[in-house]
Amino acid sequence: MAGQKNDLYARAGIADVGDFYRHKFVSDEVLDARYFKALDRFDLRFARTMWVFDNIRAGSDVLDLGCGAGMLALLKRKGVTLTGIDLSPECARAARRNGYDATLTTTLSNLPFSDASFDYVVSLDVLGHVGFEEKDAVLGEIKRVLRPGGVTMHGIECIDRNAQKNYEEMDADELRRFVEIDGHVGLEEEQEHAARFRRFFKHVAWESRYALCLSSEEFLKQADQYGLNYFERDFLDYLRGLSFKERRAFDMAMGYVFNKISDLNVQLPKSGLYVFLKASQATLGSFYNEHRDRRALYSPNETAGELACLDRNAAVTFDDGWYEPNFLPPVARWMGKCGRIRFASSSLSSIALDLTTHLPDLRDHPLRLDVLLNGEQVSSFMLFRHSWLNLHLPVPTPLNLAAGGKFELEIRADRTWRPRPASDEARDDRELSIAVCNIEIRSEPPAVAGG
């Protein structure tokens, strides 16, 4: 798209499309597959990712068009070779950081790959950003780089012409406001997308999605920014009042329903919002779960003998006292007032971790931290400076022996702070205390006395 004259972007006053997307879609969120918790499969945020995850073959070559920060990084759990392209170099770098094997900054209509290079070409929330004059060129490129029998899968934003104006009907101000929300300059109706794909591929299947399940943020965005009046006002007010954790619980519930609709292959009515689309020159398999194999989501990572790092281990459970990993750097998890980590180990001699806090006025009011292992206090100290602290906790032998291989590490902080003001657009009302990473456990045999 970059470098090409796109009349709608120009009419909307967006001169530098790459820069526009950099501001819209670059984030420091950690999408690295190694940090993915099995429970996140129900999070509506990852619903589209899970659709792709369940439809690709393990070990295949996948191209992610418009990779953004790397929403498909989870595919690495299936051992695929994952390549991403994006207009924005910052997005490409973020995706690389999140585990993509290769990322490039380029346009979609001129892919820098030889013919038949990929088993899958995937995009999520991208084709709605491609201008009408460019769409056919993009589909042509997708067809070119797909191997014979390869499948292309897309999650595409749509428009409901009964509820929203066409681009031609919008005046300059309406168009500017509409495009500025997400950068949508190529929204079509669901069947129009399908018809376009049919011109390039023999087999096309599509399903309307998001007719029922939307995240709390998306409900509010569709109502407040896109002006859709499908939703009840009191329900929207209720969503506005939800806290960070309540929003996550709402999104998990929505994601659970979303997944069940896929699992049960329930046909939804036209939503006018979004469509999942699969296309191929070869006969398509089932629309959902064609290559469903979720073992990689649950299986623990292989670790090195006596030393194990719990941060990226799928067998380790971080309870709700912990928030999603953030790229500070390093990649670390923020904790609320109390966080627990459950893990199994045949033996445990010591625990080491790095922690920091961004709490204000730490010098005047040091932060008290208590560390407990299986309910027994193993350390207590005050944190009085903003820096990374390496904490090394020897585990008493009786505690190790009594644990029976199952451990629960608990950290308690005596206070928290809210890093963002309540008026912040992101409505981030998280209460944070410390960030933790590099949680290593050692299971050395006890030293022989006098040895």
Binding site: N301, T303, C309, D311, V331, S387, W388
Partner: protein
Amino acid sequence: MVSEVENILVEIREHVRAEEEAKRAASGDRATLEQPAASPGGLTSPESLAHLSAHLTTTARAWDRLPPVVSNRTGMTARIELWIKRRLKKLGHWFTWEQVNFNSAVHHALVETEQALSRQAQELAGLRAALAGESETRGNELAQKEKEIQTLRSAIDEQARKQATQYAQSQAAEQEARSAVEARLSSLAGELRERDEQLSAEQRVCFKQLSLETSEAAVLEDRGRRAIEARVRKLEETRDSARDKAADARG
């Protein structure tokens, strides 16, 4: 004839009185006013001119008068005397007229001299008045200048005081700024040191994270390699076993 003499005497008396009054007035004025200095000969002083004018009044009246022919005798002697005097008068007529002419010349010369002196005195008075005016103007100007100088001096003094105050203030401000800069530098150094320590700690944690990830990757790679080698061995064993079986079957 007698009245004429009386008149002359009266005039002389009045003139003397006028002179005395003028002298008194002049001496009184000197005490209070600074009179311009008389010329060395005193000819151009107002008194001298007044004297001269008084004398000229007398000469103007008497330069051509001759004494009457009178006798204090009586009788014949008186007539003889008068006759002789008349004859002498006629005989000395030429001398008398010469004297009259001389008197006239002297009188007129003196009048002209007096007039010239008067003009000169007037001119001098004019000049003196002009000088006095000029002097007064200059004096005023001088006073004005002195006033201005005084004002300027006051302004300069005020300016100097202000500058001194400003200098003191700037010295104080400089000192304060220096102290503030030193404090800020010290604070910045502390902050920098703290940030440096934080950055070092952050780098340590990042490197540790990388190290852990690398060791994880190395273990995974090693395990993968060993799994592949095991599979290869198993395949080779299967192949050898199949080969042996085939050989047995052939044999």
